[in-house]
């Protein structure tokens, strides 16, 4: 089943992005960078799923009048529309938490935050 690299370019790109996002998330102590990493990871998954729907030479499934084989599968696009909104919501909530953390602890660095939390009054 192993196919050509070129034929899987989108999927490989998505997996690469996923790894990049994961790295950004794990390697940085900065909370904002963690959120950015999370978004890159989500975007990678979106790229992957949307790519599943594509068909070579296909057009978007709007005003479909010919045979279905000419059109891109609309289902992955519809799913990812939902996925994007979910990612936006998570990001918004995470940013709100960072704003509040900054207000409370005066830092947006994960390690520094834990240190100040331990030393400061609870």
């Amino acid at each position: 089943m192993t196919g050509s690299l070129l034929g899987h370019l989108n999927f490989l790109g998505a997996m690469f992005l996923f790894a990049v996002g994961m790295f950004t998330m794990l390697a940085h102590g900065n909370l904002i960078k963690k959120i950015i990493g999370m978004n890159i990871m989500d975007t990678a998954v979106f790229l992957f799923v949307v790519s599943l729907g594509y068909i070579r030479g296909g057009t978007p499934a709007i005003e479909a009048s010919g045979p279905a084989a000419q059109y891109v599968n609309p289902l992955p696009s519809a799913l990812i529309l939902t996925g994007i909104v979910i990612a936006v919501s998570t990001t918004a909530f995470a940013l709100a938490l960072v704003v509040k953390i900054h207000a409370r602890f005066g830092t947006i660095d994960a390690d520094e935050m834990v240190r100040r939390m331990r030393s400061g009054p609870q």
């Binding site: 978007p60 709007i62 529309l81 207000a103 005066g106």
Partner: protein, 152 residues
């Protein structure tokens, strides 16, 4: 005191963005777009207006109450459309099967509940996204607790 260039351009652009967003919302069943895309566009119009003239000016027209009410109304409308279908047709959120009028395909007012649901989501997304932006932008990180480390 809003910047002259910004405020002049924004005063032309903001209504245009709103109209375009409304267009995208109500034509969701005919062309690319829909409630989410259109709602985001309208919200971005609000964001531009808020950045230009300040949040207080926006609040004069759309205060917390109006936004909160529109938010709840949008998503409750979605649920009510679904519940009405459950009562009439037996399945939650069913469309033509529950007697929503299909209209003439391709016209603006067609496709029954799809159109209504899109509009409801459009209202909800507009208010929520702008509300989130306003809350994040207006919060004052240095107001409480320890002094902050770096400048904002």
């Amino acid at each position: 005191m809003p910047d002259l260039i910004l405020s002049t351009i924004a005063s032309y652009l903001v209504p245009l963005i709103w109209v375009y967003g409304a267009y995208v919302i109500v034509h969701g069943h005919l062309s690319p777009g829909g409630g989410f895309a259109g709602g985001t566009i309208i919200a971005s119009g609000f964001v531009l207006a808020a950045l230009t003239w300040g949040f207080d000016r926006i609040r004069a027209g759309f205060d917390e109450n109006v936004l909160g009410t529109a938010d709840t109304a949008g998503v409750l409308a979605y649920v009510s459309i679904g519940l009405a279908a459950l009562i009439r047709g037996g399945w939650f959120l069913s469309n033509l099967g529950a007697g929503y009028p299909p209209g003439i395909p391709g016209r603006l007012f067609s496709s029954g509940a799809v159109w209504l649901l899109g509009a409801a989501i459009g209202v909800k997304v507009t208010t929520t996204l702008y509300g989130l932006f306003a809350r994040l932008a207006e919060s004052q990180p240095a107001r409480e607790g320890q002094p902050r480390g770096e400048p904002r």
